[in-house]
C-alpha cells in the first residue's frame, strides 16, 4: 500500500487530500513513482476525464511497474520523464498554453507535488484549486537555511547537507515558495554533538 497518514503537525506543514474528478476543459496530471496508483484510483472514479488528460509521469525507482497501466487509461497525452528536472520544461510549456478550466492533479512524493504546485501557481492557478494526494516515499526535499542548498529525498533526521556538509535537523517548517522543508544546523552550539540519525517517521 502506497498510502501514509502523516501525523498532525504545525500549520506550515502541507496537508494532502485525495484526488477526485472535477469538471474541467483539460486535466493536467503530474505524478511520480507510486503516485501512479492515485491516478489509477482516479480513473476508477471517472475514466472519461482521461480523454482530455495530459499525464506527466516520473517513475523514479518504480521503473516500468505502472507505465503500461497508465498508458491503458488512454490519456490524450502521456509523457514519461527520467526526472522532475527533465520534465519541468514540459510542465511549463503545458501551463503556458493552458486556459481557465484546466484542472491540475498532483500525486506522489512531497517534493514533486510542492515543485509542480509552484509551477501551477506561477501560471496563475490559486494553490487552493490544485488537488494533491501523497503516495509512496515520505522522503523530503530540504533546504539548508545556512547555505540555501537543496537536498532531495532526505530520509533521516538529522542529515548532512549535500552542499555545505553541515548536520541539519529536519523541521516541519515548510516554504511553499521553495517547495522545501527547512533544515537547521543541529550542532550549532556544541559542534560535533550530533544525535544518531533516525529514519523519518520511524
Amino acid at each position: 500500500m502506497s498510502k501514509f497518514q502523516f501525523p498532525e503537525s504545525i500549520r506550515s506543514r502541507p496537508v494532502y487530500g485525495t484526488l477526485e474528478p472535477r469538471p474541467g476543459k483539460a486535466h493536467l496530471m503530474i505524478a511520480d513513482a507510486e503516485g501512479a496508483e492515485a491516478l489509477l484510483d482516479l480513473a476508477a472514479l471517472d475514466a472519461s476525464i482521461f480523454r482530455a488528460a495530459h499525464i506527466i509521469y516520473i517513475p523514479k525507482a518504480t521503473g516500468e511497474t505502472y507505465v503500461d497501466r497508465l498508458k491503458a487509461l488512454e490519456p490524450a497525452q502521456f509523457y514519461v520523464g527520467p526526472t522532475y528536472e527533465a520534465s519541468v520544461q514540459r510542465i511549463r510549456r503545458v501551463l503556458s498554453d493552458a486556459h481557465m478550466g484546466l484542472q491540475v492533479y498532483l500525486t506522489g512524493t512531497e517534493g514533486l507535488m510542492g515543485q509542480a504546485q509552484n509551477e501551477a501557481m506561477t501560471a496563475g492557478i490559486p494553490h487552493s484549486a490544485i488537488q494533491t494526494e501523497h503516495r509512496g516515499s515520505v522522503a523530503r526535499r530540504m533546504q539548508c537555511v545556512h547555505c540555501k542548498g537543496i537536498t532531495e529525498d532526505v530520509m533521516t533526521d538529522p542529515f548532512v547537507c549535500s552542499h555545505c556538509g553541515l548536520n541539519l535537523f529536519v523541521r516541519d517548517h515548510y516554504s511553499r515558495r521553495l517547495a522545501a522543508f527547512q533544515g537547521v544546523r543541529v550542532d550549532a552550539e556544541d559542534p560535533g554533538n550530533v544525535p544518531e540519525p533516525v529514519e523519518l517517521y520511524k
Binding site: R22, P23, G24, K25, M100, G101, A123, G124, I125, P126
Partner: protein, 328 residues
Amino acid sequence: MSAAPQKAKAGAEKIEVEVSAIVPLNDLVTRFEFTRRDGQPFPPFSAGAHTVVEMNDDGRTRLNPYSLMSDPADPSKYAISVRRDDEGRGGSLFMHQKVKVGDPMTISYPVNLFPLDLRGRKHVFLAGGIGITPFMAMIAHLERMGGAWELHYACRSEALGTYADELTSRHPNKVHVYYDDKKQAIALEDLLDGQPLGTHVYVCGPQGMIQWVHKTAAAHGWPDENVHSEEFLAPQPGKPFEVRLCKSDITIQVGEHESLLEAIERCGVEAPFLCRGGACGQCETDVVEADGEFIHRDHWLDDDEHASGKKIMPCVSRFVGKTLVLDR
C-alpha cells in the same frame, strides 16, 4: 467570501460631505458627487468599495450602500450613481427627489467587499444594469496600472445604458455592450472558454445573473477563488413581528416596512453593521430562543447555519412566529 472587518462600533467611521453635483444620466440613473465639508482630501479607497449614505427622510433615517464609482486616484470627490426604484423602500426615490446640490449629507468611510484580486493576470467584468458602478472604479484603477481587463455589459436598452457611450468611446476594444431590447445577450460559455490561466471574473448585477455566472464558471472548471460577485440586497417588507433583545432587556416591534436592524436601531440599541445588504457579515446575531420560522435572505450564512436557527442577519432577514429572542 472575505472575512468581515472586526469593529467594536456600529458601522464604519463617518465623513461629513456636501452634494457638489447632481448629474442625471438617463430616465432612471443619476450621479451624485460629494466633496468634504472640512476641505480635507477624501480617504483613498480601493476599487470595488462602497459607502453607506445616510438619508434623513422626514425624521426617518435611511442608510443605503452605494458603490463608489469615481476614480479611486481622485481624493477631491466621491461619486455614486443611483438607480431610481419606484417600487423600492424609498432610499433611491429620496436621493432622486429630495437631494439638492449644496445639501449637507453624511456618508461612511469606504468599505470594500468586492475588491480586485490583483494577483489576477486578466480581469473580466460582467455587469448587469446598474451593476456597472463598481466596474467604473475598477477600470480606472486597472487603466492606471496597465492591467488587462475587458467589460461585458448587459443593459435594457440604449436609452438606459448608463455610461455605455462613455466607456465604449474611451475603450472601444475592451467594452462590449449587449442590449436586451435588441435580443443581445452575453455569450458566457464562449467567453469563459479560452481565457488565459489566472483570469478572474467579476459579476455585479441581478441575483439571477450572479448565480448564472457562478454556476456556469464552476461547470467549466473555474476555481471559486477566480469568480467574484457583489449584490446588495434591499430589505424586503414582511409581516410585523416582535423581538426580545435579551442583552438590552427590551422587547421591540419590527414594522412591515422596516428591517429588523432598522427596528433595533430605532429603539436606541447600537448594533454592528457595515453593508446593510446581507453581504458583509458584520451584523450576524445569535438567536437565543425562537419559536417560528426564519426568512433568511442574506448571502453571508451558509445553508447549515440558516437551517440551524441559531443565527440571523438582521439587515435583510425576518422572522414569522410566536417568539424570537436575540443576543443583542
